[in-house]
Amino acid sequence: MKMLTKRNSYIFLALAATAFFYSRDGDITTSVYATGLAFALPLALAAMVGIMCERTGIVNIGIEGTMLISAFVAFFVAYLTQNIIIGLVASLLVGALMGFILALMAVSWRMDQIIAGTIINILATGLTSFLYVQGKTIPSVFQSFEIPLLSKIPFLGPVLFIHGALTFVGLAVILILYVGIYHTPWGLRSRAVGEHPSSADTAGVSVARLRYINVTIAGAIGALAGAYLALELVGSFERGFIAGKGFTALALMIFGRWNPLGALAAALFFGLTQAYASQLMIDQVVNIPSQFTAALPYILTIVILTISAGKVRPPAAEGQPYEKGQ
């Protein structure tokens, strides 16, 4: 019950802050929240990759690399075919492939999972910077559109329901993952494999198969995050395009206690902080050096983790290869 009241007090605090800002200036608050959601989405999706993998006992620090290579594929396939849908599909396939490779290393080869993830990151950096070509453009991005009726709700409408297609897909993925993990047989099996694989094995769950499936799907979710950046939010690709978002997502995953909605809340907090920081810069309300506003989300992450630390517990079988009979 203590957890519940604490969580509720966070929600209350967030609502009170929103109401306060909204009463001060409705239009700016609305636009900051919409921008905040756009900033938060790739982080939230990347955190979902971590959650899906770690819930089945695989540590994935290759999220950064997965996002990088899938954003690269999304952009350059969209450029070559002049079709962003084909770019998206190719990106999802490559993301799933990266997940599969991680599973191959972690499950079948029983490699150290931190090293396996590092290999994915370095491989992605190497491949994308080796094959990168400058100055290409894609025909369009996934344009924002309004969802009829819902977008007319004051505040919530423009914040939640005027976005590009990938935003809606991304939000749906997060909700589906939440329901999936806590309310379906698949979720129960996954969590069992992550907590105590030998028990799950005894109960008839194939540990290796479930880990393969989950890590592969997680790769595709990471690709969605990369494709969202390349084909909707930014509309381009540069070397070092992901800029640490895949790592930040790991902090959000821990901060959200391996719960999809918790991680989403953490990502929203992060995105809103960034959106507010850039709004403060535009308004020149305060004369903070740009470097400090850029560093603010990272400082906040450390402060919050320090305060809330000691109470989080990762899935018990995380990082350990499973061998039958041990």
Binding site: I115, I122, G126, A251, I299, R313
Partner: protein, 362 residues
């Protein structure tokens, strides 16, 4: 459960660190990676033989080339050593990048500010200041890990970005070269520059001496034993009376200090000033090199020289064969993949593949 078994095999492993198998695996990994790289170069329409000949000839074929190679290898040895010392204590220090940056900037500041000191005082002072600031950054992660249980992977990643922002702020503000619009510090004073022996930078000797020193510390001293024990089994270490918290903090401080020293050596020996474009990615290369050298303080040196050589020769390779220098990043990833793939490992060694890192918490 299997803890005692793995500790025993670890101990067996550490006794015969230099057996044939552990030398052969990295060599074969490098050869296989070069072969795959050759196929990729061929697919791109270039000649792999010309490319590799140019790469290795300019990196290792002449005294000058070797000098450049060792200059490139120096920060890689130190970054790799920093990551390796952390891993020995069971800490995955992804923050070598940030620690290295703060060391580089601090050394640049010291090199500019203490103008007029004789070199034999100025250089050590600047090096120590660089190492100190590297330690300072890492100490934050160490304390948070030990006393608040915040995972070091998260704090070190966050600190990388924070240090980058602060360094950028200082180099574009208070520490900026007077009259300069670029974000960079002034050149350090002549006395603060690390000398070259022929074409070999003296920083390389510092790096090698430090590698040997930590091999001795980890393998032959009580404090090293403490670090190794905490790294292998925190509970056993606690049970046998070792202060786990203090060991975690000091291992992190040592690791950050080595990384900071790496940045300082780079500033004092090669770049002579701080600029944000310098030092990029060195800390992350350190992760690869630590793992390539199998987390052995001396074993990382050949790997660092190889990677340093590739970095040094890449520009010439692009000139001679047209291949993009980024192929080095690709080769590094392939080498790391093959050197760690236990399929290959098991082929040579029948001992269990030891886990160098673990999950988020213990």
């Amino acid at each position: 459960m299997s803890d005692t078994k793995s500790i025993k095999s670890d101990l067996d492993n550490s006794k015969k660190k230099f057996d044939v198998g552990s030398w052969l695996i990295p060599v074969i990994a490098v050869l296989v990676a070069l072969f795959i790289g050759a196929i990729l170069i061929k697919i791109q329409g270039f000649d792999p033989v010309v490319a590799y000949r140019s790469l290795f000839k300019s990196a290792f074929g002449s005294v000058e080339g070797l000098g450049v190679t060792l200059a490139k290898a120096t920060p890689l040895v130190l970054a790799g050593l920093a990551v390796a010392v952390g891993l020995r204590a069971g800490l995955f220090n992804i923050g070598a990048q940030g620690q290295l940056l703060s060391g580089a900037l601090a050394a640049a500041w010291a090199g500019v500010t203490f103008d007029g000191l004789p070199g034999y005082i100025h250089i050590p002072v600047a090096l120590i200041i660089g190492a100190f600031f590297g330690s300072l950054v890492a100490a934050i992660s160490g304390f948070l890990k030990a006393y608040r249980g915040v995972h070091e992977v998260i704090t070190t990643i966050m600190l990388n970005s924070i240090v980058m922002a602060i360094a950028d702020y200082l180099a574009s503000g208070r520490l900026r070269e007077p009259g300069q619009f670029l974000t960079r510090t002034s050149e350090i004073s002549e006395n603060a520059r690390l000398p070259f022996f022929g074409s070999i930078p003296s920083g390389f000797f510092i790096a090698v001496i430090l590698g040997v020193f930590f091999w001795w510390i980890l393998g032959r001293t009580t404090s090293g034993f403490r670090i190794e024990t905490v790294g292998r089994n925190r509970h056993a270490a606690w049970y046998s009376g070792i202060s786990v918290k203090r060991t975690v903090v000091s291992a992190m401080i040592i690791s950050g200090g080595i990384a900071g020293l790496g940045g300082a050596v780079e500033t004092l020996g090669i770049t002579y000033r701080y600029e944000p474009a310098f030092n990029l990615g060195l800390g992350f290369d350190g992760i690869t090199i630590a793992l390539l050298g199998r987390v052995h303080p001396i074993g990382i040196i050949p790997g660092a020289i190889l990677i340093g050589g590739m970095r040094a020769g890449a520009a010439n390779m692009q000139f001679d064969a047209g291949v993009a220098p980024e192929i080095v990043d690709l080769l590094m990833a392939l080498i790391l993949l093959f050197v760690t793939a236990p399929l290959i490992t098991r082929f040579f060694k029948n001992s269990s593949n030891k886990s160098m890192t673990s999950g988020w918490g213990n």
